[in-house]
């Protein structure tokens, strides 16, 4: 290990080490940031949900979007996989179906950043109990 020689180095080091615990920091206040839940059951994975999930994880970091990507089980929309449920802070969740890389890009740019709805929304047909 190298010595840390001054406060500026310590601060830089702190920033560089963020990704070690970033996931935990974000999960600590999940309701304050956008939550992206990707349905990763058998049908989801078969339709490419894994690539979509990786795409979200990489892109939100590249584009500096404060969001948490969570892997969940089957959401019940097997006909429309891959499905992604997005919850903006304080708003009701919205489910997008048939998500492709292009559409994921659109979702990040329009819905996650500005709350603008894009195509592919699946109307909510259930109530979740906490």
């Amino acid at each position: 290990m190298n010595k840390i020689n001054n406060l500026a180095d310590l601060r830089k080091m702190k920033d560089d080490l963020q990704n070690k615990i970033n996931l935990r920091v974000k999960s600590d206040s999940p309701d304050a940031i956008v939550q992206i839940k990707v349905g990763m059951a058998t049908s989801g994975i078969a339709s490419g949900a894994k690539e979509i999930m990786n795409y979200f994880i990489e892109e939100i970091e590249k584009r500096n979007v404060e969001a948490l990507v969570i892997q969940v089980g089957d959401m019940g929309y097997c006909y429309a996989e891959p499905t992604v449920e997005i919850t903006r802070p304080g708003e009701d969740p919205v489910v997008f179906g048939y998500v492709t890389i292009d559409r994921a890009d659109e979702i990040i740019e329009k819905y996650i950043k500005n709350g603008e709805l894009v195509e592919g929304i699946i109307p909510a047909n259930y109530h979740s109990i906490d």
Binding site: I4, N5, L17, K20, K26, D74
Partner: protein
């Protein structure tokens, strides 16, 4: 560096380690590897989550799923169901004791909702043996800020303004303590961390040291900077091997990064920290006794003044603070005095860690804002009394504290209110009692502890507590008189007034507070020779109900002292003079014909 999508946090506190959390970590890693997921999910061993009742704990990030009472063999299911398929393992979720519903994530658990974690902020969050994780979470930033951007007096002013008071029990303003130590002129000064946690059932200091050692090291260095000390000593009991191990690892890593040692962060400030082991004597939590023990002398207190700030370790000015106090310092410097002072009550700022124990559903470690009520702590965070029993009392402050009753349930908890109610904050033990607890026996139990732990130096404590204990024993044996109750009161007053140190000055508290709050129960023991909780064996009376007894002779045969007589098929009788109240007949009777009076 790897981009993990999930973190599996496994509690590595002493409690969970004792229930095989090490094996859980091994199994989780093995399962991840066998599924080729070692780059997707990472297992992190953290400090205590506080929810010790339901340990070992495994928390899955990012969805905050909180698995309780996990066994090593559950690892396979967690990985295959949760990590691979995204389905929670329902049988391992926490079940709310009040409505019996399982709660999937920790954000919705009553246990965590009312807590504000400052001293415990990194416990159950970071890997305590990896300094990089701590640095990512602001460790040593406050030290850097103090050294580079603040004068020692400015640091002291911030701590003073924050209203931080000593968390070890004394409640002395920390900033003022630092200022006094800073004003002493000496060639050598010492910063001492009191990690001699002695209250039965209290384990907050251990948990902080096990879960977030760097915070304490950093705060000690900050304190050293304010008072001009280049040496820090941690007095820790040898019976905390895991905390000692984590501290050693942390000190080594901090030295390697140059965050401790010579010329810290290029500022020319030097600070070293060493450990000193205690043998676990309760009195060594008292600062003068602690210092003597560190010097290699007997752990006995001496009269103050001189205060340690004037003449402490090896006769040099020393500042002694408790672990939890230190743990609050770095955050205060980073977030500001006003932020800290905005939490808590008027005269007690910030938060306090309590160890919940006894007849309560959620036994564990909690950190709550000062000024919260006992009701909130017991019913909302603690999940209420075990087995639906009735709340009777709560003992705060350990053996030196007092019992509070139902009428205190809505009193805001802070240093001054607890003292006004006849108890004290102490180090933050909270033992909850229900209707099955006998208050005289409870007082006797705590006295037993103080009698044992009294160092014997001053007579009021050595002899007085012994006598108190004898009188209490007499009462629980049904031989007490009303004069004994008066004597208890007077003697307690004398011990409090004349003892040398905090141990003796507070040891009669359990007696005084139970006398004040449960006078009726004492009188019952003395006059009616009755213990309503059925705890005092000598006062129990087993009686056979002649109408219910069928004369099966089962009780007579099981009685070890042949106290039961009677003809076959005729009602039996217990000779009270011979009966040793073992309860064997009571357990044996199939007709519920034996009752306890």
């Amino acid at each position: 560096m790897n981009k993990y999508k999930m973190h599996l946090l496994v509690c590595g506190g002493t409690g969970c380690k004792a229930s095989q959390s090490n094996q859980i970590v091994e199994q989780l890693n093995a399962e991840l590897e066998s599924h080729g997921l070692e780059d997707e999910a990472k297992v992190v061993v953290t400090g205590c989550f506080g929810f010790c009742e339901q340990g070992p704990i495994v928390k899955v990030i990012p969805d905050n799923t909180f698995y309780t009472q996990v066994k090593p063999e559950d690892a396979k299911e967690i990985i295959e169901e949760h990590i691979i398929k995204g389905r929670k393992v329902h049988r391992l979720l926490y079940v709310d004791p009040t409505n019996k519903e399982s709660v999937s994530d920790s954000k919705h658990m009553g246990f965590y909702q009312k807590q504000i974690r400052i001293a415990l902020r990194n416990c159950g969050f970071l890997d305590p043996e990896d300094i990089d994780e701590s640095i990512a979470r602001d460790a040593y930033q406050a030290l850097g800020k103090a050294l580079m951007e603040m004068t020692p007096q400015e640091v002291i002013d911030v701590i003073k303004k924050s209203g931080l008071r000593g968390r070890g029990g004394g409640g002395f303003p920390t900033g003022l303590k630092w200022e006094i130590a800073a004003k002493q002129a000496s060639d050598q000064k010492y910063v001492v961390c009191n990690a001699d946690e002695g209250d039965p059932g209290a384990f907050m200091d251990r948990s902080v040291l096990e879960g977030d050692p760097h915070t304490v090291l950093e705060a000690m260095a900050i304190c050293g900077y304010t008072m001009g000390a280049d040496k820090g000593l941690i007095y820790i009991r040898a019976e905390y091997p895991l905390a000692i191990h984590r501290l050693k690892v942390a000190i080594k890593q901090a030295m390697e990064y140059g965050l401790l040692g010579k010329d810290i962060l290029g500022t020319g400030f030097n600070f070293d920290i060493e450990l000193r082991y205690g043998a676990g004597a309760f009195v060594c939590g008292e600062e003068t006794a602690l210092l003597h023990s560190m010097e290699g002398h007997r752990g006995e207190p001496t009269v103050k003044p001189p205060f340690p700030a004037e003449s402490g370790y090896l006769g040099k000015p020393s500042n002694v603070n408790n672990v939890e106090t230190f743990a609050s310092v770095p955050v205060i410097l980073l977030k500001g005095a006003d932020w800290f002072a905005s939490i808590g009550s008027e005269k007690s700022k910030g938060t306090k860690v309590f160890a919940l124990a006894g007849k309560i559903n959620n036994v564990g470690l909690i950190e709550v804002p000062m000024g919260i009520t006992l009701r909130e702590v017991i019913y909302e965070i603690g999940g209420g009394i075990k087995d639906g029993k009735k709340f009777k009392a709560v003992q705060t402050g350990g053996p030196s504290g007092g019992c509070l009753t139902e009428k205190h349930l809505d009193t805001p908890i802070d240093f001054d209110n607890l003292i006004a109610a006849g108890s004290m904050m102490g180090s933050g033990g909270m033992i909850v009692m229900d209707e099955d607890d006998c208050m005289v026996s409870i007082a006797k139990f705590f006295l037993e502890f103080t009698v044992e732990e009294s160092c014997g130096k001053c007579s009021p404590c050595r002899i007085g507590n012994k006598r108190l204990h004898e009188i209490l024993t007499k009462i629980t044996e049904g031989k007490g008189t009303m004069e004994d109750l008066e004597l208890l009161k007077n003697l307690s007053g004398v011990i409090k007034d004349t003892s040398l140190c905090g141990l003796g000055q507070t040891s009669p508290n359990p007696v005084l507070s139970t006398l004040a709050n449960f006078w009726d129960e004492y009188v019952e023991h003395v006059i009616d020779k009755k213990c309503r909780a059925g705890k005092c064996t000598a006062l129990k009376k087993y009686i056979i109900d002649a109408e219910a007894c069928v004369g099966c002779t089962a009780c007579a045969r099981v009685c070890p002292v042949n106290a039961i007589s009677g003809e076959r098929k005729m009602p039996h009788e217990i000779n009270q003079d011979i009966c040793i109240k073992c309860g064997a007949c009571y357990d044996k009777c199939k007709f519920s014909a034996i009752f306890i009076k």
